[in-house]
């Protein structure tokens, strides 16, 4: 059972309160470093940064609605060779935490001494939309939250965020509860684990009740599921069948940016960087002779279908694949849609639980009885 505390917001806005919260953690030596998005000096973007000096947190803006890189990748890079000896707080969005859990299962990240601080998430913009927003607005995080509070529809939200049914962290030591809380006045802190409890206790905050949170989450999720199903229906109509697929993937130039930005695609030596599917010139000519012509380089659709097979069980739907595509191929839509068909087969929700085994590394004897007999 989660215990909760209240962070009273001063007059400075939500972002200021969160900055103070993180500063307190550093100053009270509850953690030795904080990984949190900081404003760049240009004010045109924020980037995840590892902070040890409390004063640097004056430019922390965890609520800036933008997700340039998945924090799961950042933490994997940081903890893959050796786990952290020092206590580090990581402020991340729900999709980032879910991807991180998947990477932990894949032995690509380690949570030793990591305090996961998950924020409720109302969504993010593309990097370019955020830059535009930031040039128009001085305090992006606070302005964005004001818009949310006023109930404004925000067309700049990325599609991945519009259809995300996990706006709250599934797994975090501490949850920053924004959904359903009157965040101008007070912010809810939920301590979900003993580690989280230790940190929250150390902050000496007054206890609170999470009243109304669940109802507000249910409403938000309900809206997003509705939108998700519309998008899925559209995706099905646009992609089903070889002819439609080849036209959807026609602009793909094989840059593999989608794979590079995907937090789940972790292989150090991807098969598509090897010569596994390279052949002698005569082979290509042979195929061309058989078909009359072949698209070069080959294997455009093949690459995407293989990638689907390799990672779709763990796809958390962060949508960074699509953000990375230079030619706007709707990769996210397709992957998310296929994931929605594959994951329930194994009753699997990526990022739900570190202890839950990856579907493709385990099995049950008495399942899928039809396979092999149909």
């Amino acid at each position: 059972m989660a215990k909760s505390a209240t962070l009273t917001a001063g007059g400075g806005g939500v972002v200021k309160s969160l900055q103070q919260l993180l500063k307190d953690m550093l100053e009270k030596k509850l953690v030795e470093a904080v990984l949190v998005p900081l404003e760049l000096p240009s004010k045109e973007g924020v980037v995840q940064s590892l902070v040890t000096r409390p004063a640097a947190l004056d430019s922390a803006n965890p609520l800036a609605p933008v997700l340039p890189v998945n924090t799961a990748n950042v933490l994997s890079k940081m903890t893959r060779l050796a786990s952290s000896e020092k206590k580090v707080a990581v402020v991340a969005r729900p999709c980032e935490l879910r991807a991180l859990v998947e990477l932990v299962k894949l032995k690509q990240a380690c949570l030793n001494n990591i305090v996961l601080i998950g924020m409720d998430c109302y969504g993010t913009y593309s990097v370019l939309d955020y830059k535009q927003f930031a040039t128009e607005t001085p305090n992006t995080g606070d302005e964005f939250m004001k818009g949310i509070k006023a109930g404004q529809a925000d067309s700049r939200l990325r599609e991945a965020c519009q259809i995300c049914e996990y706006p709250y962290p599934l797994l975090a030591d501490i949850t920053i509860g924004l959904i359903g809380s009157d965040f101008d006045k007070e912010i809810l802190l939920l301590a979900n684990t003993p580690l989280g409890q230790q940190v929250v206790d150390g902050l000496g905050l007054p206890e609170a009740q999470a009243d109304g949170r669940q109802a507000a989450i249910d409403k938000l999720v309900g809206d997003r599921v509705k939108r998700r199903d519309e998008v899925f229906e559209q995706t099905l109509a646009e992609t089903k069948g070889l002819e439609k697929l080849t036209s959807i993937f026609a602009p793909c130039i094989g840059c593999h940016n989608c794979r590079d930005m995907c937090p789940i695609c972790y292989c150090k030596e991807c098969v598509f960087d090897s010569d596994t599917f390279s052949f002698e010139a005569d082979k290509y000519v042979g195929w061309a002779e058989k078909k009359g012509a072949i698209r070069m380089p080959t294997d455009t659709l093949f690459f995407h279908v293989i990638r689907l097979n390799h990672m779709v069980t763990s796809c958390v739907g962060c949508g960074l694949c699509q953000e990375a595509c230079p030619n706007s191929v709707p990769v996210f839509r397709i992957f998310r849609f296929v994931g929605s068909k594959v994951q329930p087969t194994f009753d699997y929700v990526p990022g739900r639980d570190v202890e839950e085994e990856l579907p493709l590394t385990t099995y049950k004897e008495d399942e899928l009885q039809k396979v092999g007999y149909e």
């Binding site: 992609t239 089903k240 069948g241 070889l242 439609k244 697929l245 080849t246 026609a250 098969v271 599917f277 195929w287 058989k290 078909k291 009359g292 012509a293 072949i294 698209r295 294997d299 455009t300 659709l301 093949f302 279908v305 293989i306 689907l308 097979n309 390799h310 779709v312 069980t313 397709i334 849609f337 296929v338 068909k341 594959v342 087969t345 194994f346 579907p359 493709l360 590394t361 099995y363 049950k364 004897e365 899928l368 396979v371 092999g372 007999y373």
Partner: protein
Amino acid sequence: MSDNNGFEPTIVGYFCNWCTYAGADLAGSSRLQYPHNVRGIRVMCSSSVDPMYLLRALFGGADGVILCGCEPGDCHYISGNYKARRRMMVLKTVLETLGLEGDRLWMRWIGAPDGPKFAKTMNEFTELIREKGPNPLGTAWNV
């Protein structure tokens, strides 16, 4: 037997060394006929075949692909076929969701003493694919 304009399918089979390959041997030594369309590849276990090699065959223009392993519970490596079964489930779901003719892909359990079952399965699969016609992935130039 339908002839589908004389179309003869190319079928790629991945056969587990311990069960199906022995079953294929038995079919041969028992003089049971199975179609020459099937090109068999011996693999150490149904789970040693990454699904991408099944897809490679389909995208390379094979009209049908069949992966065969030991009966559930009989895997030489204890659990390989159970894992292959999950991968096959994922692969088929992906193909069917994308509308890419998942029925060109079969998985079957054929044990070492199952020579007749081997021949029967290969006949059935070849006939099904012959009726279905050529794999569109094998003829589309812009895949």
